[in-house]
């Protein structure tokens, strides 16, 4: 392996040594609590649209915690953060634009 890669790897490892270990336990506990809230809401038989909104909201918060802290994206350089997040979000927005109006149209017309 070339020396540049080794130097970068050592620098990244050094950064990891500065991350607080208890923080990972707090994130894990927060993820478990949010999962418990999701399950609790399921047993409350909420209206589907309200339920979906809350569940998706919690899922995005959980995803942000996993990406930010467990996958360490929070500690990466700005270029890395923007390149990864923007590309995924952009593609998902395109999928949403193409898929969902049609699904709602079918729902409105009724299933034959």
């Amino acid at each position: 392996m070339d020396t540049t890669q080794l130097a970068i790897e050592e620098r990244v490892a050094e950064e990891h040594r500065h991350h607080s270990k208890p923080l990972f336990f707090y994130v894990w506990a927060a993820l478990l609590v949010m999962t418990a809230i999701e399950v609790y809401l399921t047993y409350q038989n909420l209206p589907p649209v309200k339920m979906l909104t809350i569940l998706l909201g919690l899922s995005f918060i959980k995803a942000a915690l996993i990406i930010g802290y467990f996958m360490h994206l929070k500690y990466e350089v700005s270029v890395m953060k923007w390149a990864t997040i923007c590309s995924v979000v952009g593609c998902l927005i395109i999928m949403t634009i193409f898929f969902f109006p049609d699904a709602f149209r079918i729902l409105h017309i009724g299933v034959k």
Binding site: A7, Y75, C91
Partner: protein
């Protein structure tokens, strides 16, 4: 901190545009492409859910409890994976191996529970045409006409969760190679035999078990061609993959299970 540390690298080296090593960038690129695979599958499921008025809600309380325990297994495995990465950068090889093995145990727990969930649904009559019929079982009343009236439910459910289960299985194998290297190959072969011979012929897992055999062959070739001791960067890259698998489940669990629950 990260951006200032980037400039600490000696000036003779050209700094990386993304501030990190190439293996990690490669894994991020793979995960980005894989997120689109899962994105498409989740959209396909959601599309069917929205556009189909009589969408089945087969997940009763027992299924929800089972899926919740599966979620707890995955979340805990992410914690143990982070601790494995931390042990690797601290150059504590013993702790690194132990945390990796703990992560694998949680992953195997997830796969076993998921397999049980699948087997129960198939036995109740929620199945795909490609799955063999379960002898001596009659379809539960709620699934009698599902394969005819809403065939997209079983197709999207098994497609999405099956793809995720495959990712978890490959993740466990990946971690096994990083933790144990060549010693993992005989373990994998034993697991293949147990999964193959221990499941009935009509179970999809009877054939799915051959993924383990294929993986053992591929790993043997890789480790024969390029034997190496995996360092902290390899553990971190493996961790990225593992956390991604956990991340995907954070969307599958609410969208597939909780939104299709029937709590009486």
């Amino acid at each position: 901190m990260a951006e200032s540390a980037l400039h600490d690298i000696p000036s003779v080296y050209e700094p990386s545009l993304f501030g990190t090593y190439s293996k990690k960038i490669g894994m991020w690129l793979f995960l980005l492409s894989d997120s689109l695979t899962f994105g498409a599958l989740l959209y396909a499921y959601s599309y069917g859910r929205i556009s189909t008025a009589n969408w089945p809600t087969p997940f009763h309380s027992a299924s929800i409890v089972n899926a919740t325990v599966m979620t707890a297994f995955l979340l805990t495995s992410s914690l143990t994976m982070v601790l494995a990465v931390r042990a690797s950068v601290d150059r504590n090889a013993k702790a690194q191996t132990l945390w990796l093995l703990a992560t694998m145990v949680c992953g195997v727990g997830f796969i076993v529970l998921h397999g049980r969930e699948w087997s129960n649904l198939i036995a109740e009559g929620l199945t795909l045409p490609m799955f063999p019929a379960v002898p001596g079982h009659e379809a539960a009343s709620e699934f009698v006409n599902v394969s005819k009236t809403v065939p997209q439910f079983a197709a999207t459910f098994f497609g999405l969760t099956g793809m995720h289960m495959l990712h978890v299985t490959l993740g466990v194998i990946y971690l096994g190679v990083v933790a144990l290297r060549r010693k993992f190959i005989p373990i994998l072969l034993v697991l293949w035999l147990v999964a193959w011979l221990g499941t009935p012929v009509y179970s999809p897992f009877h054939y799915g078990a051959h993924v383990l055999l294929i993986a053992a062959i591929v790993i043997s070739i890789i480790l024969w061609l390029k034997p190496k001791v995996y360092d902290s960067s390899d553990v971190e890259v493996a961790g990225l993959y593992w956390h991604f698998v956990d991340l995907v489940w954070m969307f599958i669990f609410p969208l597939v299970y909780l939104m299709s629950a029937k709590i009486l």
